[in-house]
Amino acid sequence: MCGARGRGYNRGVSLVAELTALQEARGYLADEDLTALAERRKVPLYRLEGLVTFYPHFRRTPPPRTELALCRDASCALRGAASAAVAVREALAAEPDIAVHEVSCLGRCEIAPAAAVNGHPTCALPTEDLCAAARAPEGMPSDEPRASPSQRWSADVYAGGDTEPYALLRELRALPEQAAAARVLGTLDAAGLRGLGGAGFPTGKKWALVRAEPARPHHVICNADESEPGTFKDRVVLEEMPHLVVEAMAIAGLVAGATHATVYIRHEYGKEHRALERALGRARDLGVLGPAGAANPAGFDADVFVSPGGYILGEETALLEAMEDRRGEPRNKPPFPGTHGLRGLPTLINNVETFAWVPAILRRGAEWWKSQGVRGAAGLKLIAVSGHVERPGVYEVPMGTSVAELIALAGGVLGGRPLLAFAPGGASSNFLPAAEAGVALDFAALQKAGSMLGSGALLVVAEGTDLLGLATNVTRFFRNESCGKCVPCRVGSHKGVELLESLAAGKGGPADVALLEELNETLALTSICGLGQVALGPALSVLRRFPQTVRRAPPAGGAP
């Protein structure tokens, strides 16, 4: 029979999911798979081409037996990634079934220099161990989430077992909807909780805004795509406290009028994804998630969308584009996702950590939250510490803790060396000199000091480091991760890297620094999203505050 139903049918499964499944089946995406998929889904070939070449997870050629990924970004660079890479490549040069790639930040900065063997995270040192793992990837220890938390986290109101998880959610759901929303919004406003993914937008205000939007349905998204070099605090939350994220999303759903939530997680977070799925399963078992029931009158449910890769997907509108089967290119704003989000409908998007604090704040109250900060700041903060410290990792500190205090908590500067500089808010934050180490980790104080709280990642740099080289490394990361949509970021970040590399190589001079300043202004003012706006910022912070890093240009006409 020859009748065929065309476009308008066969919606539902996302193209990204279909591509992922096809790749799992064959190991890569062959032309014939893509052509057949295009025919079946009635999508043009160019759309598939656009997707598979945009997302690093997809490959068009058969995979090697072992795929060895080596992180090349800032935290790992500070811990010897470059020389480790040279050593590994040398050791494996004669083994064609092992492919070595240098990749963007894997989010395992506490084991820097980080590597991944067929997706299993490990340390790139010592070289012999890594090579052994690459030769026998099946022998690697299984990548299971830890059974119990590594420490007692203040956020986990259910730790210790005296209260049953989701008690707060049950309590709120038992209230009249208006009353529940009023309580939640009132508490969040009073506490002054701000988004902890980087932008710092007041959480209560965002929730109220989405709640007020008349278009339906609403959607809740948890942005678990942290990918900025040095940033891995959300990863720890997902592994150790996923139930808090689930509960907070459900509360957000209640307030914002959404019955569905999605956790958008980076594909490198394998065991964290498993931990999250377990938490979702448990919540369904408990009747607070899934089909409507007594404890879940609205039938609220949540799922997980695994990112096909790329730092830019952490930008909330790029993330939406990916979920809508397009290239993850940030949208022009306004409109913002709160009014025009997923498929054009109102969407509440918060970062993992932001969600994770919500149950504690609602249970313990706004006053408790405010009282947790020091030096006039409010609340607590998870900060990932990496680079030149003795004990890299995620630390829970009062908001307002000084950088020096946090470095001390992390065991001090590596090897007892003097501090040279630090970036308090991840790779996109401006570097500050050691003299500023007394600055408080807080939105306002860091802004005043000329940097930002950013993604909650403290990057520590000891004396003796090539800071211009590090700044170039950071700029290269943004260049590599630029989606390419807008001109200033696509072309400007690349030209910026070329100019910095030239400076770092001792070529160029003040005219190039001036050109970088001009370029930075254009990127900051005209790029569509935050990536382009900050791409040259950290490098300029080094050029401005550490002018001695620029070596003198060779005399005109002279060889470099």
Binding site: K42, S482, G484, C486, H494
Partner: protein
């Protein structure tokens, strides 16, 4: 009889016009909410530079050139940012301009200055910005101080015959992507890669020439730089300012796209073409309109009148391949001393000698006059052409009717929509479309029956595809899967020739389940009971095995059609070119009437017209039974009116149709013929018979621009004008009358067709004196209802739809028959049809069904398109398309040479495998003389429309020895 103001049944929410007040560069501006800053600035006369933005496309805000300062932390791209109340916008501060200059600098750092656009049409937008900011010719990046590092190494892609791709000049503005996707819906171009390595790509990053690109050139038209440029087709492309821009229309299909041709006057060549904005085609063109213009300046244009030399009598074909008569007809593929294709001038031209116009025309007048005097006017006949203008068509039939006294005048519409017109006249009293194709944007359901629209009416198809994207459900019915099926909600692959049972089954469900518009049927139709009785016999369950579709599927489609709020029905040759073509059309018309799908916005009946002037040629009377405007020759009052104006008696008997004239020639009843722009040798069914008929004529005069296969049989060949060399009007498929203007000078002694007709007429004792085509048009328009009031002067740049009561203020009537039909009762007739098999069903000897048709790149007998460098390069040779499984069963591989034969002849050509064919069916395009499909086709006629059955005959396919 017309209505355009019928109340729409759709409750379209009228947006509340909220006004937003803001300040732009210190000026207070008020605009409707939703206006972008860029638009608001434009209205205020403030020009903000753009690269990625074009008013024709949805803005994307990627080049950032249009950034403005709104006082926020970052600048806003004016092209995407909506105006807000109280905004204070600075569009050109020093700080804003500084960013634009840097953005330009960044792009120029990677730009091959001057790029291909700057070197050809001279209008690269980026280089213009570079000049504005002092960045080219000695600007900062050409100085050593602090240059931006230059980028290079991105590839060129020369694989397309018509479009040059230079990735290095690409600024990733995405204009081509939106042009290909949102405007033309060809969906070929996208971005590949990411970040600085991103670039545009075709399909899965194929070279453009090997991708699914259909070469419409919309990407070139939208590209601001030299990334996508036109390759030279007829002459090197010079700066636009040095070329003459002539606004006219496209010479090819019935869509009648408005085009501006840019002519190089020095060379008398067309350099390039551009779609005209604000027209029915919305500035879109297809590959033929954009790149197929160079035939007009081909070296083989006829430049002198030709007279057949005595040595070449008795007449017969002159080409060696055609002389091989009785040996299966067609020639052996690429055998012989030439590579196949068009008439070989070296072989044919020696049979003729050049003559003066006086000698040639006197000879025609003398011989044709003698035949008339000896055998009566009925011994003469003429074929006009749907490629000619309204004026030429009118004069041609006037010459035959008034000058010669015969109604034996017909043209190729007989071969395309005669059955459609027969059914339309019978049912709704008018043969023209009831609504324009562009109104699909207001339809919720569109039925496309037997039309390969993307190939044959590509620009109309772009509107269908666009509607589909906006949610219109498209139902495609065709045995051979057309590209449009990719965009359809339902694709109904019925078996060839089972149209009547299929549509009857749909109507069965619609009637049985009460899905028809009872009020409309009651108020505006007649014959419902008879239709009900017939369709009652066609339950989907009974019809399913005949048509090859599931009964449930048929029911589902019937529910969609029956449930439509506003449905438009389009059809093409797949409906009309059958011996049951009129029945097929009756079914579609009945379906439209049943569902009340006529006379309202988004509804209508639209037989898609093939030739650029098939509507107009028919309107002008190139039909044996009708005087201009479908006024019957049998009607005495009508005749009296024409006789008064024309000053001669008119024969009250309808003349013969195309195939009847050919038969008449074969049987010796037709002795002399005047052939203006027609090439029946290739276009008519069973051409072995046509060949004998042509050879049989005592006198044949062929008026054309090239030596055609038909001209081989001529006594006199008159060198005529191409479309590009004359003034005249053309009526497109929408009934839009548009003025064609001369773009080129006539070559040699070639003359305008209207002048040739008048000259011949004068020499035959019937002077027709006109000062210009405008005068001819005035006489014609005045003799009609439809064109009354229209003049060359009031057509305006966009033309007018007929009828047009007030040409000064109105575009003409878009939607006809909102309040009844021009039938005696004022009602539309529901005419039931019963299923009949095609005339020649497959059997053991000839087991396969042959379908014939056109290709996107070619036009009819190929005399134009095969002389176009670009079109010929894209589709250079004939082929037979068949299903891979059929081929495998016969042991035939893709590309292999095969012999396709029917009871009438055989042709040799390579196989092209494809799954758009069903098993048991093959398709041969009819453009290629070296493997002429019409050697195979059957000359059985539809009894009403007298149209031949081009779409169905029995053939067999064998590997060539």
């Amino acid at each position: 009889m017309t209505v355009t103001s019928a109340p729409s049944p759709v409750p379209v929410p009228v947006p509340v016009p909220v006004v937003v007040k803001l300040t732009i560069d210190g000026r207070v501006v008020e605009v409707p909410a939703g206006t972008t800053l860029w638009e608001a600035a434009q209205r205020a006369g403030i020009d903000i530079p753009v690269l990625c933005h074009s008013a024709r496309l949805d803005p994307v805000g990627v080049c950032r050139m249009c950034v403005v300062d709104t006082g926020a932390r970052v600048f806003a791209a004016a092209c995407v940012r909506p105006c807000e109340n109280g905004m204070k916008v600075d569009t050109a501060s020093e700080k804003v301009e500084r960013q634009r200059r840097m953005l330009t600098r960044l792009l120029l750092a990677d730009h091959p200055t001057p790029c291909a656009r700057e070197r050809t049409t001279g209008d690269c937008d980026l280089e213009a910005l570079g000049r504005r900011y002092g960045l080219v010719d000695g600007g900062p990046d050409t100085l050593p101080a602090a240059p931006l590092p230059r980028g290079h190494g991105r590839p060129l892609d020369a694989s397309s015959p018509v479009i040059a791709v230079d990735h290095q000049a690409c600024i990733l503005c995405d204009r081509c992507i939106r042009a290909c996707d949102d405007v033309q819906s060809n969906e070929v171009i996208g971005r590949t890669g990411k970040g600085y390595a991103a670039r545009i790509a075709f399909d899965l990053d194929a070279p453009m020439g090997r991708s699914t690109c259909v070469s419409c050139g919309e990407c070139v038209a939208s590209c601001p730089t030299g990334a996508l440029t036109n390759k030279a087709v007829a002459a090197p492309i010079r700066a636009t300012r040095d070329l003459a821009a002539v606004p006219t229309v496209c010479p090819y299909c019935g869509v009648g796209c408005a085009v501006t041709y840019y002519a190089d006057r020095r060379e008398n060549r067309i350099a390039f073409a551009a779609g005209r904005p604000g027209s029915g085609n919305d500035a879109r063109l297809c590959v033929k309109g954009r790149y197929g213009f160079d035939y007009a300046t081909h070296a083989q244009r006829l430049t002198h009148p030709l007279i057949r030399r005595e040595a070449f009598y008795p007449k017969g074909p002159l080409s060696s391949d055609v002389r091989g008569e009785g040996q299966g007809g067609g020639r052996a593929g690429r055998a012989g001393n030439k590579p196949g294709g068009l008439v070989d001038y070296a072989e044919v031209l020696p049979a003729f000698r050049e003559a003066s116009w006086d000698e040639a025309l006197d000879l025609c007048a003398r011989r044709l006059g003698a035949l008339r005097d000896a055998h009566g006017p009925g011994a003469l006949a003429g074929f006009g052409s749907a490629k000619g203008s309204n004026e030429e068509a009118y004069l041609f039939q006037k010459l035959l009717r008034a000058g010669w006294g015969t109604n034996n005048v017909d043209h190729c519409t007989r071969l395309c929509h005669a059955s459609s017109v027969a059914a339309l006249l019978e049912t709704i009293g008018s043969g023209a479309v009831t609504n324009v194709f562009g109104d699909v944007r207001r339809s919720d359901v569109v039925l496309c029956a037997g039309t390969n629209t993307t190939a044959n009416h590509p620009v109309a198809a772009s509107f269908f595809k666009q509607a589909a994207k906006a949610g219109t459900q498209i139902v495609v019915v065709d045995p051979r899967q057309p590209d449009l099926a990719q965009h359809a909600t339902y694709y109904c692959r019925i078996r060839s020739g089972t149209d009547v049972p299929f549509y009857n089954a749909l109507m069965h469900v619609i009637v049985a389940e009460g899905l028809y518009d009872a009020a409309y049927v009651r108020d505006h139709t007649e014959g419902f009971e008879a239709l009900r009785a017939v369709v009652a016999q066609y339950a989907p369950e009974k019809v399913a095995p005949i048509v090859g579709l599931d009964a449930a599927f048929i029911r589902e489609v019937a529910h969609v059609l029956g449930g439509a709020r506003a449905m438009m029905i389009f059809w093409g040759m797949g409906i009309s070119q059958h011996t049951h073509g009129t029945d097929n059309a009756r079914c579609l018309i009945a379906l439209a009437l049943l569902t009340g799908s006529v006379g309202r916005p988004g509804t209508g009946l639209h037989p898609l017209r093939g030739q650029n002037n098939v509507q107009g040629a028919s309107d002008a009377g190139l039909i044996p039974m009708f005087l201009p405007d479908y006024q019957s020759v049998k009607d005495e009052t009508v005749r009296a009116r024409f006789e008064k104006i024309w000053g001669r008696p008119i024969d009250p008997r309808p003349g013969l149709t195309v195939v009847e004239i050919t038969r008449g020639a074969l049987e010796g009843r037709i002795k002399g013929m005047y052939m203006m722009g027609e090439n029946p040798f290739l276009s008519d069914p069973n051409i072995n018979k046509v060949r004998k008929a042509l050879a049989h004529l005592e006198f044949l005069v062929v008026q054309d621009i090239f030596l055609t296969e038909t001209a081989e049989f001529a006594d006199v060949v008159l060198p005529a004008s191409s479309f590009f060399e004359k003034t005249g009007t053309y009526t497109n498929t929408d009934r839009r009358v548009q003025l064609g203007r001369p773009v080129l000078e006539l070559p040699g002694e070639a003359r305008c067709d209207w002048e040739i007709i008048c000259d011949l007429s004068r020499r035959m004792g019937y002077p027709m004196d006109y000062a210009s085509p405008a005068e001819v048009f005035a006489e014609f328009a005045d003799l009609t209802q439809s064109y009354r009031g229209l003049t060359h002067d009031n057509l305006g740049p966009g033309g007018k739809l007929w009828p047009c009561a007030d040409p000064v203020h109105s575009d003409g009537e878009q939607i006809l028959f909102g309040d009844g039909f021009p039938t005696p009762s004022g009602r539309g007739r529901l005419v039931p049809a019963e299923f009949q098999h095609a005339k020649e069903m497959p059997d053991d000897e000839y087991p396969m069904v042959l379908n014939t048709g056109r290709l996107l790149e070619h036009w009819h007998t190929g005399s134009m398109t095969r002389r176009s460098v670009a079109l010929d390069a894209i589709e250079p040779e004939p082929f037979v398309e068949m299903h891979p499984d059929d081929a495998a069963a016969l042991g035939i591989a893709d590309g292999q040479l095969v012999r396709v034969s029917s009871r009438r002849g055989a042709i040799l050509l390579p196989v092209r495998l494809g799954r758009r064919q069903v098993r048991g069916a093959v398709f041969v395009p009819f453009h290629f003389r070296e493997a002429a499909a019409n050697v195979l086709t059957i000359d059985e006629l539809d009894p009403f429309g007298k149209i031949p059955e081009f779409k169905f005959c029995a053939v067999k396919v064998q590997p060539a020895a």
